[in-house]
């Protein structure tokens, strides 16, 4: 690969308020997410992990610094261009309320493509649908699907447009552990078999252990990194960081 980095943050700060009441949610953070890897961002509540993800995914504006996604500097983009970037280059999986209730599972999966009036790669879409085992659920509406099925649809949607990077925000937070494991294996498979790049925010050591690499955040700063993690290693590292 020519460019190993799917997304890069350079000196990113996010500041709320002014003067005495100033809060630094992100304080001069620089980080790279490699193409074809599964990275987890961990940290206690208030550490800035969600804020980092929102800033890097173009969902929130940063106060300082720069972010590039697929070699595009997002700070220079206008709302319309940023929206197109999210649509074409980024996949999203949120913790809950991931799907549009009025659309079928199939329409939800193809939503970013449909919004872009883009047919997409049908072969790839079928492959994605097969990977998450949704073949016989395609005509159902979200209300007719279980929580796990809904998250699978969300993962499939994130993959459907072959994005440069997928951001997942606590994707298993609302699921029981069996279903959660299932979703995590799908994401792992998407990286291994389909060559996708995933960045996942989580506070759960078990979830994080599915990743190739974990980036730890504390008080808005990068607090450390862990490669090839196991749940035990993660717990040890977290103790070391003091929480």
């Amino acid at each position: 690969m020519n460019n190993p980095s799917a997304a890069t943050a350079t000196n990113v700060s996010k500041i709320y308020g002014h003067g005495d009441s100033e809060v630094r949610a992100l304080d001069n953070v620089s980080v790279q997410f490699e193409t074809g890897k599964f990275t987890a961002i961990m940290g206690p509540s208030g550490s800035g992990k969600s804020t980092l993800m929102h800033c890097m995914a173009g969902l929130d504006e940063m106060t300082e610094g720069s972010v590039t996604i697929a070699d595009i500097d997002i700070a220079s983009l206008k709302d319309k261009e940023l929206t197109r970037l999210r649509r074409d280059k980024i996949g999203f999986v949120f913790q809950s309320f991931n799907l549009v209730p009025t659309l079928t599972a199939d329409e939800n999966i193809r939503l970013p493509l449909l919004l872009g009036n883009n047919k997409g790669n049908e072969e790839w879409i079928q492959k994605v649908i097969n990977t998450v085992h949704l073949q016989d659920r395609l005509t159902h509406r979200p209300s007719e699907l279980s929580g796990g099925q809904q998250q699978r649809v969300a993962v499939a949607r994130a993959l459907a447009s072959e994005p440069a990077i997928i951001f997942a925000d606590e994707p298993t937070g609302n699921l029981d552990s069996t279903t959660g494991t299932e979703i995590l294996s799908f994401m792992r498979k998407a990286v291994n078999d389909l060559g996708q790049t995933i960045v996942m925010v989580t506070h759960d050591p078990v979830s994080a252990s599915y990743a190739d690499r974990i980036v730890f955040l504390k008080d808005g700063k990068i607090a450390g990194e862990l490669l090839e993690p196991t749940p035990e290693l993660v717990l040890d590292y977290m103790k070391k960081l003091g929480h």
């Binding site: 969600s50 929102h54 969902l59 929130d60 709302d79 319309k80 929206t83 197109r84 999210r86 649509r87 074409d88 999203f92 949120f94 913790q95 809950s96 309320f97 991931n98 799907l99 549009v100 209730p101 009025t102 659309l103 329409e107 939503l111 970013p112 449909l114 919004l115 872009g116 009036n117 949607r157 925000d169 606590e170 937070g173």
Partner: protein
């Protein structure tokens, strides 16, 4: 609980404003029409008490013919009564008065005043008199047969100054006078927008009416007697053979005020009918807003229930909110209505009905009515949603989403169909001979049934109407289509105001189209000429009978005949007779004679319609006794029977009938057949110059004439559309409010869509199409109902001569286009709001 309710209201000011908006609009129209009516009544009341200020007694004939629609024709008095009244002790001054048709022609050659529409154009007497209705503000009163005075407003619009030559058209033809004075009526420049040309008595008699006769006598006392004593003295002095009555100044003032009052009351009833329609439409919006807001507050209410509030308390909190909204909205509506009353005069002015303006009158009854009605409508609209809010289970507090429960019960479907079926039965019963009163009930039942079924039909119809949006706009269209169908109750309630407005407009348009088709057919059948001279003046003034005679003398004209109306008494009831000139009618105006020929119609005979013969079992040679307006009795024998009674009515007489009476008669139309070979252009020029001599009437080709006859309905249509427009505004506001609340409710969904790549313009598209689908839903169902309603009304009027029903195709198409535009416009603000949804609050949990 009261405090919680009030805090709740203040905490959501935006919703207070939105909910109140519906109340404001509904009550504004209510108060607007009340203020408008009161102001109008007061203006006329003041005008007449001012005008009759110095009139102590008033003498007029007791002989009066009352015809349909409150029209009356009072007989004239012989002039010698003036001398009798002058001799009565206590009388200081006496003035014979005449009020008749006269039209002032402006300096530019255009007659003043709208022909037919708007206030009448009068000729009257203007002489120096203590109790005079007129006061000279410039110049002097006319004193000979060449002089005239004009009311101030006419002098101004006609661009006339003292010394100018003024052309005036009246019964005796057109004549030119010298303007010697400018007068005002009481304190106003022109009474109610009517135009007045004033002459000395002798000229007025000869030019406007009949020499030797007057309409009434104004008396001014010398102050030695009270008005009552004076009136009694005069009454005693006039021999009973004159058939005259004497009224006090106060009585004639009161009578005139009452006459105007009752003429205005029709108008007031029309206005308040439409204001209640608007309020009814508004109550749907209010109900909808409370329903949605109850649903959106489900969690909050459930929490209250969970911590120990009773069902009753939750319900009461919501009712308190509705009281606050009702009061707040009604008070603002009251003031908005006062502004609206001004707009209403402007609207009527635009529709050709010019009314005098005076100081605003805000009657306390209007204030009380507006606030009480506004409050009742608001609270009763909030009743059901409030009860539903109380029923929320405490467990709902734990639930994630708070979306309105969408349970469509079988009961509703059955109930709706039963209502429609009952309505249909009532209507079918009428078509099988039952009384027309059942129609009203039938219509009401069908309407209620449709509204009840609304939520049931909303989903399939919205999905159907949304198909093109999906085709056109891809996934944004799909979402709009699904959004409009996702909560059928809400969609139905939002579309209902549109439905009601559209149904009423369509019904009126269908009625109008049917009338137009009918008129078109009738005139095509009976009017055989090439040209017509038409005047839209009805019942008052018209074309001088000599116009037809003049045109008949033209060498290029084959034949021209005048048609007029005459009011007479038959068996003590006022009746209209059609007057024709039997010598010239044949081949131009076709009555469809089944027996007799035109030459059989003389001063001693009458033609009657086939219908009349059947109803009265009469035959040729039977006699009919009629009383003319001057009390002459004529016995006429039936000399002909005709088939076409749509224009002529039951009776047709020769204009020779009134040759020897004081009755004046105008033609309402002159039908002309040209000699063959006269080119169209020169025919027009020749006829036009004949018309110009009289300054009255419009020359029209056969086609133009028929179109203008059927086009007369358009003016009424314009007024009704204007009034219904207010309901449409309320419907639009209803759509806006619902969309705003829906957008608010779907914040997370919109945020998600924005996150995964929906652009702002796509967000707007989705909202816009949802709005358009909702609006079209109301329009389509409304059109179906409206066409049905129109048919029912046309059917009910079958006895009035409406035989054919026409579907108003062009109106229907324009309604659909308008519904589309309304949908687009209503979505503008909600769509903008939707693009302002914060991405992060939408997608982050907690």
């Amino acid at each position: 609980m009261l405090r919680i309710a009030l805090k709740g209201i203040l905490g959501r000011k935006a919703r207070l404003v939105l909910t109140s908006l519906a109340v404001i609009l509904g009550t504004a129209f209510l108060s607007g029409t009340a203020v408008f009516s009161a102001t109008l009544n007061r203006t006329f009341d003041n005008l007449f008490s001012d005008v009759f200020r110095n009139v102590d007694a008033y003498v007029r004939s007791t002989q009066v013919i009352e015809a349909d629609f409150g029209a009356e024709e009072r007989q004239r008095l012989p002039q010698e009564i003036i001398a009798i009244v002058e001799q009565v002790p206590g009388v200081a001054d006496v003035q014979g008065d005449i009020q008749a048709f006269a039209r002032i022609v402006g300096k530019n050659g255009e007659p003043l005043g709208a022909e037919g529409a708007g206030p009448p154009t009068f000729g009257s007497v203007g002489e120096e008199f203590k109790g005079a209705l007129w006061t000279i503000s410039e110049g002097k009163f006319p004193s000979n047969s060449t002089e005239v005075a004009l009311d101030e407003a006419s002098a101004k619009t006609g661009n006339y100054a003292i010394g100018d030559r003024v052309k005036i058209v009246a019964q005796a033809g057109s004549r030119v006078f010298t303007l010697v004075g400018i007068a005002s009526y009481g304190d106003v420049r022109s009474p109610g927008g009517a135009t007045f040309a004033l002459f000395d008595l002798a000229t007025a008699q000869e030019f406007l009416a009949k020499p030797g006769f007057i309409d009434n006598i104004l008396v001014s006392g010398d102050g030695t007697l009270s008005d009552e004593e004076l009136t009694e003295a005069i009454a005693r002095a006039i021999p009973s053979s004159y058939k005259a009555e004497t009224l006090t100044g106060a009585q004639i003032t009161k009578e005139t005020q009452d006459q105007i009052g009752s003429a205005l009351s029709f108008f007031n009833i029309l206005l308040s009918t439409f204001s209640y329609i608007a309020l009814g439409v508004g109550s749907f919006v209010i109900y909808n807003v409370f329903s949605i807001s109850a649903a959106q507050r489900q969690r909050e209410n459930a929490l209250l229930r969970a911590i120990g509030a009773s069902k009753k308390q939750v319900t009461r909190a919501m009712l308190i909110e509705s009281v606050v909204v009702g009061l707040f909205g009604s008070v603002i509506g009251l003031f908005a209505g006062i502004g609206l009353s001004k707009a209403l005069s402007a609207l009527l002015k635009a529709a050709g009905i010019d009314l005098p303006t005076g100081g605003l009158v805000v009657p306390s009854s209007a204030i009380a009515n507006t606030i009480v009605v506004g409050l009742i409508v608001t609270v009763s609209s909030a009743w059901l949603p409030a009860r539903r809010a109380g029923k929320v289970p405490p467990l709902a507090a734990m639930r994630e989403t708070a979306i309105e429960v969408v349970a469509l019960t079988r009961r509703r479907t059955i109930f709706g169909f039963v209502l429609i079926a009952l309505g249909a039965v009532a209507i079918v019963a009428v078509t099988n001979g039952a009384s027309n009163t059942w129609l009203g009930l039938g219509i009401l039942l069908v309407f209620s049934g449709t509204i009840t079924l609304g939520p049931v039909i909303a989903r399939p119809v919205a999905l159907l109407l949304g198909k093109p949006a999906e085709r056109l706009r891809g996934v944004t269209g799909t979402m709009a289509r699904q959004n409009s169908a996702r909560n059928p109750k809400r969609t139905a309630r939002t579309a209902s105001p549109v439905l009601i407005g559209v149904a009423l407009v369509t019904a009126v348009a269908a009625l109008a189209a049917s009338i137009r088709t009918q008129i078109d057919g009738v005139f095509t059948e009976q009017f055989k000429g090439d040209y017509a001279i038409s005047t839209t003046a009805r019942g008052f003034g018209g074309l001088s009978p000599s116009l037809a005679d003049d045109i008949n003398l033209l060498p290029e004209v084959e034949r021209a005949t005048g048609i007029g109306l005459l009011t007479v008494k038959i068996e003590d009831r006022g009746q209209y007779l059609t007057t024709i000139n039997p010598a010239t009618a044949e081949g131009v105006f076709d009555l469809g004679l089944t027996s007799g020929t035109y030459s059989d119609l003389t001063a001693d005979t009458i033609f009657v319609s086939q219908q009349y013969v059947e109803n009265n079992d009469s035959k040729l040679g039977d006699t009919i006794s009629i009383t003319l307006a001057d009390a002459q009795v004529k016995t006429l024998s039936i000399a002909g029977i005709y088939e076409f009674d749509e224009i002529a009515g039951k009776y047709t007489v020769s204009r020779d009938l009134i040759k020897d009476s004081t009755v004046i008669n105008f033609d309402l139309g002159v039908y002309i057949k040209m000699k063959s070979g006269v080119p169209e252009e020169s025919a027009r020029a020749i006829l036009q110059s004949a018309v110009d001599k009289y300054g009255q009437g419009t020359l029209l080709s056969k086609r133009e004439y028929i179109d203008s006859q059927s086009g007369q309905i358009n003016q009424l249509l314009g007024l009704i559309y204007g009034l219904l427009f207010l309901s449409v505004i309320i419907a639009v506001v209803g759509i806006i409010i619902t969309l705003l609340l829906s957008v608010f409710e779907r914040q997370r969904e919109i945020g998600l869509l924005r996150a995964v790549g929906m652009t702002k313009s796509q967000v707007r598209t989705t909202v816009r199409w949802e709005s358009v689908i909702t609006s079209l839903l109301g329009a389509v169902v409304g059109i179906v109902l409206g066409v049905g309603l129109g048919w029912v009304i046309v059917y009910a009027l079958r006895d009035q001569g409406l035989s054919s029903f026409s579907v108003p195709i062009s109106s229907t198409v324009s309604i659909l286009i308008m519904a589309f535009v309304i949908g687009v416009l209503a979505a503008v603000y909600p769509a903008w709001r939707a693009t302002r949804v914060n991405l992060l609050t939408a997608i982050t949990t907690s």
